[in-house]
Amino acid sequence: MVTPTPPLATEISQFLIARGRWSLIEIVFWIVAFATIYFLPDHYLILTDIVIWALFALSIDLILGFAGVITLGHAAFFGVGAYAAGLMAKHGIIVEPILALVASGLIAAVFGFFTSFLVLRGSDLTRLMVTLGIALVLREIANRFSNITGGADGLQGVTIAPVLGLFSFDLWGQTAYVYSLIVLFVLFALARRIVRSPFGLALLAIKGNPLRAAAIGIGVNWRLVAIYTVAAAYAGIAGALLTQTTAFASLEGFSFERSADGLLILIIGGTGYLYGGIVGALLFKYMQDWLADITPQYWQFWIGLVLVLIVLIGRERIGSWLDPIRRLFDRVGNWRPRKEGQLGMSPGDGGQKP
């Protein structure tokens, strides 16, 4: 057996360790993010909104960007988390917000686990159908059992206790923002860990070539179940955050619009490098503000137009505009400089080609 010359083993080792390490840019990014607490007090409300969307988009990235599963109904888990947190607060089941948050995430995870088996089988179209259908079913359930959920009016009378018993949710939204940002950071760090692990690498392999993944001993289905469950938990926590920061939960949490917007945010920001959800949420909110000034009522038209343009122009070309950003965060994703002509985004994270 040939033993590798020490420099090679060292080089490999160094690369693998560096692969997992946070880059300077990432550290700077998060420092700036937390600095906004002090520098942008007037924007707490919109920043909290961005954080929640970012977390939701991150949850979609986990399954779409890293496992290649297309979903049109991820809001199902967002809604579950939202109502779980709302009901827990309203009926005093779990009063402390952080505990309620975790519990909501777990409940959403259970839903994710059981629905994951439906999503495993079948083609892209089947997956679309199933994910869409599940979100609709849950929305219907929430609608029908209006004596519990408040139905179309939403869940009323929710009061959120102070975080850790110390920090009450104030009118300016500072507690809400700090709370949300910390949650986002913790969950992000966790996701980053997962994605850079052997488990995460296996997911990328499954996304790229499920046949070969199985041929090297990876049990594809159970890995997908696992990541789908985690993604559901993340979405549920995002939903719970929304409820806790607004003291309100509504059917909108389950809506198709939420699923579609979450997908759009992720696509704008880029899949497969975890920061796409955050970048996308920032861009999305900026776009929304700008467009709302032009036509406040029909801004859905512009969103639709953006989607159409993104596809027509090509995700790859747009992805290349974002290359500078992706390059900064390339430790997390599998971004590598493309050689002549090949641009930006990872191919293959859009399901099968016809």
Partner: protein
């Protein structure tokens, strides 16, 4: 002499088409067994049946005497069976380093370890380096697989199967499409396999077959025509007839 890999009356039907009919293979430990036959004979179907990608219509597959006919493909790998694909099946966005690292981590049981970094377990790094070195992939180890030249991809394809440290290795035309110069590399590497690894090789190139194999099975239209030593097979009139004048020892 124990049989490592055995099939009994293996059959696969697709509607009215019989892709494999009463296929019986018996491989002893350390065998160097070649499976040859004209195009469309069903050789890849046999490999797909052996690895579990296809379910047989009837018949059994035994690994070390244990019936694995109902075992999932990925579990068969864990039991020690690995294969290469005739057309490269690689992970386009991963680098050779990551690809091999993945297979090695899986084999070593880290597949679910979501909290580790890849390669943090001792020995993985050494194994990666050793394979990269053996397959001359060191200079491209950090490139995206999708942009590698075909020859390198083919080497990675085979290296990936080696990374699983199989006891039974199924090679589906390993030298297919590879330029002459690199063929020798591939063959030389296959020759370095430990003698206790059992190998089933599908090949069209008769040079390779006769250099490599100690037994040959000839598959025609899904059926096993002949099985025997290279000498027996090359002199069998039926085989000559099937290949219609194609010289077997050119």
């Amino acid at each position: 002499m124990t049989l490592v890999l055995e099939t009994r009356a293996l059959e696969k039907r697709f509607g009215g088409i019989v892709a494999a009919n009463e296929v019986s293979l018996r491989l002893k430990k350390g065998a160097r067994h070649a499976l040859i036959g004209p195009n469309g004979a069903g050789k890849t179907t046999v490999i797909n049946l052996l690895t579990g990608v296809l379910r047989p219509s009837s018949g059994e597959i035994l690994l070390d005497g244990k019936n694995i006919t109902g075992v999932e493909p990925h579990d068969r790998v864990r039991l020690g069976m690995a294969r290469t694909f005739q057309i490269n099946q690689l992970f386009g966005d991963l680098t050779p380093l990551e690809t091999l690292g993945l297979a090695i981590s899986e084999r070593r049981g880290s597949g679910w370890h979501w909290w580790r970094t890849v390669g943090s377990r001792g020995g993985v790094v050494d194994e990666i380096g050793e394979l990269l070195d053996r397959f001359r992939l060191v200079d491209v180890m950090q490139e995206r697989t999708a942009i590698l030249p075909y020859g390198k991809q083919r080497l990675l394809e085979i290296a990936l199967a080696f990374a699983c440290r199989p006891r039974v290795l199924l090679l589906d035309e390993p030298a297919a499409g590879v330029p002459d110069a690199e063929r020798q590399e591939i063959l030389a590497t296959i020759a370095t396999l430990p003698t206790d690894v059992t190998v089933l090789l599908i090949e069209h190139d008769m040079d390779i077959v006769f250099t490599f194999a100690d037994r040959i099975s000839v598959l025609v239209n899904g059926e096993m025509l002949v099985e025997g030593t290279p000498d027996e097979v090359s002199h069998d009139p039926r085989v000559k007839a099937v290949y219609l004048g194609e010289s077997l020892d050119a």
